[in-house]
């Protein structure tokens, strides 16, 4: 086995390890982050896991006599906010996937035209 082949194999091994690390990172984020929610009641969680907007921004503002106002379009009513976030997540996810595909298609087209030119 020559030096170049060994070098290539080592690089491939490193790439595999990096891939595994990335996958395990996303898996751990996916599984561990929502874990605490699974063990507590909704009402308790609402108090236990406040956003920093409540626990820091609004808390300090309140202490200094500033209260937050109702937004112009108040979607924070019942399940309406859940619907709005789900819609936003779906639209954002779709757009991300669509543009990613466009980027990859651009590559395929560029490679295709390169091959045609060679012929």
């Amino acid at each position: 086995m020559d030096r170049e082949t060994r070098k290539g194999q080592r690089a491939q091994g490193t790439r595999k390890i990096a891939k595994t690390l990335v996958y395990s990172f996303f898996l751990s984020v996916l599984t561990l982050c929502p874990l605490p929610f699974a063990f507590c009641h909704d009402a308790v969680c609402a108090e236990t896991w406040p956003g920093v907007d409540e626990s820091v921004v609004e808390k300090f503002a309140r202490e200094h006599g500033r209260e937050s106002r109702e937004p112009l379009i108040n979607t924070d009513q019942g399940d309406l906010l859940l619907f709005a976030f789900l819609l936003a997540g779906t639209a954002g996810g779709f757009a991300a996937g669509y543009f990613w595909r466009m980027l990859l298609e651009g590559k395929t087209k560029a490679q295709g035209s390169g091959k045609e030119k060679k012929k």
Binding site: W49, V52, D53, V57, L72, I73, G89, G97
Partner: protein, 246 residues
Amino acid sequence: MKIPFLITALLLFASPAHAMHISEGILPLPWAVAWYALAIPFVAMGIRQVNRMSRRDLSFKPLAGLMAAVVFIISCMPVPVPIAGTCSHPCGTGMAAILLGPFVSSLIAAIALLFQALFLSHGGLSTWGANVFSMGVVGSIAGYFTFKGLRAMGVPLAPAAFFAGLQADWATYLVTSVELASGIRGSEPFLPLLEKILLAFVPTQLPLGILEGAMTAGMVMLLYRKRPDILVTMGVMDAGEVKANG
């Protein structure tokens, strides 16, 4: 394979907001106007640059679209931080600034924040300028210059992107604290209040900054593997370096 996985992860986290944007009505009017005045020139520069770059390069539009979607989703994605017992979100502006430059990244953040303020009760219209300035402008500039500085010192792509994401996140929260402290302090001295707010952010934002760094490095490396030519076109790396790395 990684992209559907990432998108699934992002979608799973999209739930009602527990975030850091300054809510509607928190800042007094003069401060709100001042932050608008500071943010708008950067957004205008972003519009100019989008027009110029989309004429120059065909792959710019899909990349800008991808970044806009990613910044929109992750800047309203509440991530629970177990050590702090609170939730907050990454910003995504470091990633966008590396790939598209700080002005386009500011514009993207401004659009994302406008939609969030209008339809997701997340941030506010009166505080839009302040939120754009902290997340869009300062986050982008911090991420961009950290990345460029580290690359100039010969740091490899992934660690440079990691620290750019980290800096973008922490700089955003530093400026949010400055905006909040200056807006609400009244007659109280500024620095002690700023210190208090910063310390309150630390337990949540310290780990979240690391998460943001990892996400930024992941996205940049993914593009490097799939479309290194785009990184060359956008000035993220040299053509020679791509060739040398195979």
